[in-house]
């Protein structure tokens, strides 16, 4: 196959701008799938993704397009995840392409993620084809969006294609643009194998499967491959591509996009961003840019009442086969017993893991409030990474300084809400770096802000303050020293380690007060009075009491009712399974997340 007739591209867009629908239409138009076969949003395979309407696993699909020049082209569409948690995965997917469709919603205009993804694509030297989607909607304003594209991204408005993926408008124009504007891949099939992994998943039959872009050389069943980062070697059992069904090929060679299976048992052996080469004839250099996924957010995961540590461990291990981004290690909490400290790419990633553990792996879990990674500089020159507030040394005399991760936050908002958003950012310890009008109605703001403030309740606040119109994106920029203290929470005078958190000193009092009030609301009344307190060290700064239960009675219980009433009481007990026994107090899952709900 001549590389001249191959095009590798991605679609980049803000959440909800219609990426999956566009992907469906391209598949349909090129005949890769018939309309009947086309389940809505073909590319999103996981149940949760479909439910949430977002894409978390990227995949690559091969289709054939007979262009107006009468030539048939092989198109590889590489899907990218649409959430800030997965920005590294996005950059790796883009590295596998020569071009990208930049999709913008005609009613919403450019949003923060659009800009962030645009710059990622520019960094990879991709040809960018701007597409304005949803032009069929009554609220569509394509002219305004065209101006934005020109002013903000510097792309000529003549290049813009108007489309409605839902209505099938503009699909052929897009395909023609892909063929004409995006260059064919370069690469030399004669050189040693060099293939970039941009996604992986676990398949019950094939084992861990790597999705790759082959830059040089070729790979086929029987090839002995080696992973650059680990040196591990495997023998290839199958190569192919999704059409969109998994279809075997004889080989993948330079310029191709497809999958490699090699009886690999653990998806963690094929990390996104790593390079595969031929063990017998290795390439001298990997594709640049690999870094192992680095969790930014950690939380404790513990079994709920009625589930064991072993059951949770099995579930996590099985889950992790399919998610190379999570990290976990056992930890013990005095309050919650044996469990795990689990690292996530971000909050959405955490929610997905939580849901899938419960839904697909059948364990009921308690998750503690997520915390960012803190860096503690000790007076003896040592540097400690703190993934759990309880790891902070009790003796503050040893501590030189505590540093926390900062991000550069980009916010795009209609100008009417700028005031709201700016005060929110200020409250969240943000330092303003940029304020520009993108057009007379839209403002772009940049702030440097502690990541801990972003994971707190930033999302809900931003959406609430802007009626849902503002969008944001962020990237890690480094650790900075701040005046931080540890807030301890006590229940009936006992410290509950899983509820403690690290907070800026100026906010400690307010957070402590709000936290105990919230806890008072979410902790159900118990047989005995419960005292909830928060303090810095052991100095109490806020306190509340939860009055004891007074009524839980089976009013009527006669001969015909005893068995039934016993069962009803049993049901009540089932309802308490999500509670975690802490001393004499039963704490619900919500209690562990209240830390996130206070500002």
């Amino acid at each position: 196959m001549s590389l001249e007739k191959v095009r590798n591209f991605s679609i980049i867009a803000h959440v909800d701008h219609g990426k999956s629908t566009l992907a469906d239409r391209l598949l349909e138009f090129t005949g890769a799938v018939s309309r009947r076969e086309l389940k809505e949003q073909m590319l999103d395979t996981l149940e949760i993704e479909r439910e949430r309407g977002i894409t978390i696993k990227l995949q690559a699909v091969r289709m054939f397009y007979k262009a107006k020049d009468e030539q048939t082209y092989t198109l590889h569409l590489i899907d990218t995840p649409g959430h800030v948690d997965f920005s590294y995965e996005v950059s790796r997917a883009l590295a596998a392409c020569e071009g990208a469709l930049l999709l913008v919603d005609a009613t919403q205009g450019i949003e923060a993620q659009t800009v962030a993804n645009f710059w990622k694509a520019v960094e990879q030297d991709l040809v960018i084809i701007p597409v304005i989607n949803k032009i069929d909607l009554p609220a569509a304003d394509p002219e305004r969006v065209k101006r934005q594209i020109e002013d903000i991204l510097g792309l000529p408005s003549d290049d813009v294609i108007l489309a409605s993926a839902k209505e099938g408008i503009g699909i052929e124009d897009i395909l023609e643009a892909i063929v004409r504007r995006i260059p064919p891949p370069k690469g030399d099939p004669g050189k040693p194998l060099k293939a970039l992994i941009f996604d992986s998943y676990y398949d019950a039959y094939r084992g861990a499967v790597a999705f790759v872009r082959v830059f040089d050389g070729e790979v086929k069943p029987g090839t002995k491959i080696r992973l650059f980062s680990t040196g591990k070697e495997f023998e290839v059992t199958e190569v192919g591509a999704q059409t969109p069904k998994m279809t075997r090929f004889e080989r993948l060679s330079a310029g191709d996009v497809g999958y490699i299976a090699a009886s690999i048992k653990d998806v963690r052996d094929i990390r996104v961003g790593d390079t595969i080469t031929d063990a017998r004839n290795p390439a001298p250099e990997p594709v640049p840019g690999f870094r192992p996924a680095k969790p930014m957010v950690y939380a404790g995961i513990y079994p709920s009442e009625g589930y064991t540590y072993e059951e949770l461990r099995d579930a996590l291990e099985k889950y992790a086969i399919n998610d190379a981004a999570i990290q976990f290690e056992p930890e013990t909490s005095p309050a919650l017993g044996l469990g795990f400290r689990v690292g996530f790419l971000g909050l959405l990633h955490m929610e997905i893991v939580q849901e899938r553990l419960e839904r697909e792996y059948g364990v009921s879990i308690i998750t503690t409030a997520p915390s960012v990674v803190y860096r503690v500089r000790l007076k003896n020159g040592e540097i400690k990474e703190i993934r759990n507030p309880t790891e902070l040394p009790e003796n503050w005399g040893f501590i030189e300084a505590i540093e926390e991760p900062f991000v550069l936050l980009t916010i795009i908002t209609p100008k009417d809400y700028v005031g709201n958003i700016m005060s929110l950012c200020q409250e969240k310890r943000g330092i303003q770096k940029k304020f520009v009008y993108l057009d007379p109605n839209t403002v772009l703001l940049e702030y440097e802000m502690p990541l801990s403030e972003v994971i707190m309740d930033f999302h809900d606040k931003v959406k609430g303050l802007s009626k849902g119109y503002a969008s944001y994106d962020y990237e890690f920029i480094g650790f900075r020293e701040e005046d931080l203290v540890k807030l301890n929470v006590f229940i009936n005078n006992e410290p509950v380690d899983a509820l403690s958190f690290i907070v800026h000193r100026d906010k400690a009092y307010r957070r402590a007060r709000q936290l105990v009030e919230k806890l008072k609301d979410v902790i159900p009344r118990q047989l005995f009075e419960v005292k909830v307190q928060a303090g810095i060290g052991s100095k109490i700064i806020a306190s509340e009491r939860i009055p004891p239960l007074r009524a839980n009675v089976t009013a009527k219980c006669y001969g015909g009712d005893i068995t039934r009433k016993k069962k009803l009481l049993e049901k009540q007990k089932e309802g308490k399974k999500r509670l975690k026994q802490f001393g004499k107090v039963e704490l619900p899952q919500e209690a562990f997340l209240t830390v996130l709900k206070v500002d």
Binding site: R550, A551, A555, I562, Q572
Partner: protein, 365 residues
Amino acid sequence: MVKALYLHIPFCSQKCPYCDFVSFVEAPLDHRAYLELLLRELELYRDFEILPESLYFGGGTPSLIKPELYAWFFKELSKRIDLSHVEEASLEINPEDYSLEDFSKLRDTGINRVSIGVQSLREEGLRALGRKHTVKRAVETVENAHRAGFENINIDLIFGYEGQTAEELKEELERALELPIKHLSLYLLTPYEDTQFGHLYERGLLKLPSEDSIADMYELACELLEGAGFYHYEVSNFALEGFQCRHNLAYWSHEEFLGLGVSAWSFINKVRFGNTRNIRLYARKVLEGKKPVEYEEVLEGKELLYDYLFTALRTSRGVPKELLRGLEPELYEFFEEKGGRLALNRRGMLLINEVLLRLKKAILL
């Protein structure tokens, strides 16, 4: 030996929104035919030693059946079992059904205790509970029963309905105490899942008083009734001296009892067994000469102990102290000790479910 006999009468003229008992507004067979089935069912238990000291006709609405029919039924019953030891024979009565004359006839059948479903002594209360009768009619019914010669009269009241205040409950109870009653059952309204109230409650369409006002009402009621000489002998039951319901006490002290009729339960030889809830199936089985039993709970060891605590702790008599050796010391504040027995105190009774859950954990784990 079975000393308590329960007979379930599954007929109702309407389904009450809070009721989770088995009853039929339109039953596929008439009253006499149903009573005949009860007799046939009884015959299936010939192997058992049945020498009742108490009888209880519960429902449903037993008062939908005319006294004449009960007279016939008692005659038939006495042909099959020895009724000479019966000291208490209760019948549940809906205020809309019986006249003075009916009560007089009932008096001659063998029934010596009536339990009248007054439910509320405020019109607003009756409306909130979805009841059709009036306060006046309920009061008349109680008085008629008394005039006809019934000495042992119970009324049922429900508290904790939508909008009720402690002051209003107090008025109702004071009114109740003016009636010629010997026994009062006061039930907390509970919106069970499969009832109309349950559905409304789940969807937030039924607003019940807060936990604290419920508890205040309960304490007030206990205070008031005990002040009037009504002994609080079970979670929801109060009686003047000598008028505790011996039939119900059998349920709460692990005495054996036999239940006849659709959905009725029995407890014999440490087994709880229950009849089908399907009236057609019930009839077919009985006619075929088969026991219509569909559910069974065999109680052994710790389960038996828990079952005993589940029932006996409802009473002010409580349980022998030794049985609660595993009791967490902090739970003592919900108990009182008398004569080597431990019984829930007033606070404890209102929290019986919590206490039982803790006990169960302590016993069974």
